[in-house]
């Protein structure tokens, strides 16, 4: 794929209105979610979303270290989003960089707004998101994985938190951009939705859109989130199948 210097813009939208991988504008990539993929964590999930592969682990609520970070009225939500060195074509320098710090922060804040943190004062809920393979939309895949992992960890929340990015490619609003569309498209708009209330708890934008395009993109994103939401619920049901009997 894109070696250095190969800057030719690919054809992102065919005359028939199909995208570079044959999808329609409002079509998601294929998504596979596995709840409870790790043993040591209190909760975990693995998400394959198109060519993205993302692992999430949740620990806690647990003691806060360092101590001064603890809050006496609620749990703190800490998040670490990290991309593996081998997750992209060109080796990524390992460790936190400005981009991953920002993403960690916005994801932590998105989860803070759905977790009932007051139930666990003076503790920490730690969310680890590891991107093993990246192909655009990793923060959304990370949120989906982390949200399933939080439910798997038994953390009380308002709702699961589906997320998706909408973008603009060749002048058209398209759901769930893949790498080429993200790199050569005109805009990218990741969002995370609380389906229960219809609130967006994460919304970022890169590039440019008109007001009309933004409104259209939000609608498309919300409907995308709702179909991802069903897949998240199914993943959790599969994991706990049989454990859902009605107690006497």
């Amino acid at each position: 794929m894109g070696s250095v210097g190969a800057k030719e813009v690919p054809v992102l939208l065919s005359p028939e209105g199909l995208r570079i991988d044959g999808r329609k504008l409002d079509e998601l990539r294929s998504i596979r979610i596995v709840a409870g993929a790790l043993h040591q964590a209190d909760g975990s999930a693995f998400v394959e979303w198109g060519a993205n592969k993302v692992m999430a682990a949740v620990y806690g609520p647990r003691e806060v270290h360092p101590r001064h970070l603890q809050q006496n009225n609620k749990a703190i939500v800490q998040c670490r989003y990290n991309m593996a060195a081998f997750s992209v074509d060109e080796r990524k320098r390992p460790g936190l960089d400005r981009r991953s710090q920002e993403i960690s922060k916005v994801i932590a804040e998105a989860f803070e707004s759905v977790i009932f943190a007051e139930e666990f004062p003076r503790t920490s809920i730690d969310v680890y998101i590891e991107v093993l393979q990246a192909n655009a939309g990793t923060r959304c895949a990370g949120i989906v994985a982390a949200s399933v992992a939080l439910a798997d960890a038994g953390i009380p929340m308002v709702d699961l938190l589906p997320a998706v990015a909408v973008g603009k490619v060749s002048g058209a609003i398209a759901l769930d951009l893949k790498k080429e569309e993200d790199n050569f498209g005109e805009a990218d708009l990741p969002m995370a939705l609380v389906p229960q209330s219809g609130r967006l708890v994460l919304l970022q934008m890169e590039g440019h859109m008109t007001r009309d395009e933004l409104a259209k993109a939000l609608d498309l994103g919300v409907s995308g989130c709702r179909s991802i939401y069903e897949k998240m619920k199914q993943a959790l049901r599969d994991r706990y199948a049989g454990g859902t009997e009605v107690a006497a």
Binding site: D42, E63, G154, M157, V158, D159, L160, S197, K233, T244
Partner: protein, 256 residues
């Protein structure tokens, strides 16, 4: 139920594992619905151990202070065990003569407060330091299955294997006995954790234990029967002596 799913409230009030907005009740955790009028609640299927008063739990000593120990009990927070909550007469500053970091204890939850502080005590029958044996950790949600109706499951496990077992409500199960017995108990626990929701569990566990050569019902081997779990350790746990303090080698000193 999953977080965010609406509960059929039928006029019931939101209990644990639920929340209410705009007149509707939703689940906040993953679990199954239980109606306990006047409440509807969601019983968790996963998650950390949430302490309840009078639970018997297995804790690890995580820290030693001058008048108390901090125990890791698998809950959101560490639980302090104050020296007055033990059967021993301890001088201030001498806590580490009795329990050290890494020791395992059987304690009971005495108090909880809204800030999440958990008070535990070692005063009570069967409570104390757990020496020897091994710990099997399972999900706290599965512990009722391990105990069984009126203790039937745990009774048949101990009877068929001859192992000594102490079940902590926090998901930690202490077992001690001959190696074969430990293997059998582990197999039984794995079955309970893996397929505890299917019917006929007690029978299946009994079949498993018979098949793996458990000694079967009745007084087991001719050698002296093993005492019931822990009755021998109420006051029997002696204070740890300072290593070499009075010439007696401390048997536990090897651990350090």
């Amino acid at each position: 139920m999953l977080p965010g799913e609406e509960l059929p409230a039928r006029g019931l009030r939101p209990g644990t594992g639920t929340y209410r907005t705009q007149g509707k009740v939703y689940a906040s955790i993953l679990g199954f619905v239980q109606e306990r009028p006047p409440f509807v609640q969601v019983v968790p299927l996963s998650g950390r151990y949430i302490p309840k008063p009078h639970d018997t739990i297995v804790g690890y000593v995580a820290d030693v202070q001058t008048t108390f120990w901090l125990l890791d009990i698998g809950a959101p927070r560490w639980a302090p065990l104050h020296m007055t909550g033990t059967p021993w007469k301890i001088d201030v500053g001498e806590c580490d003569r009795y329990l050290r970091v890494g020791d395992t204890v059987l304690v009971t939850v005495e108090s909880l407060d809204p800030t999440g502080r958990i008070g535990v005590s070692m005063l009570g029958e069967g409570l104390g330091r757990l020496d020897g044996g091994t710990i099997v950790t399972i999900s706290p949600a599965k512990i009722p299955r391990v105990i069984g109706r009126k203790g039937s499951m745990i009774e048949s496990i101990t009877r068929l294997t001859g192992a000594r077992v102490a079940v902590g409500q926090n998901g930690r199960i202490w077992i001690d006995g001959p190696p074969e017995a430990l293997v059998q108990v582990r197999q039984a626990l794995a079955m309970i954790e893996g397929s505890g929701h299917r019917p006929g569990l007690t029978e299946r566990v009994q079949d498993l234990l018979h098949a793996s050569g458990a000694r079967g019902p009745g007084p087991a081997s001719p050698d002296e029967p093993l005492p019931p779990p822990h009755l021998d350790r109420v006051d029997a746990s002696p204070p740890r002596e300072e290593p070499g303090a009075d010439g007696e080698p401390d048997p536990a000193a090897d651990d350090f």
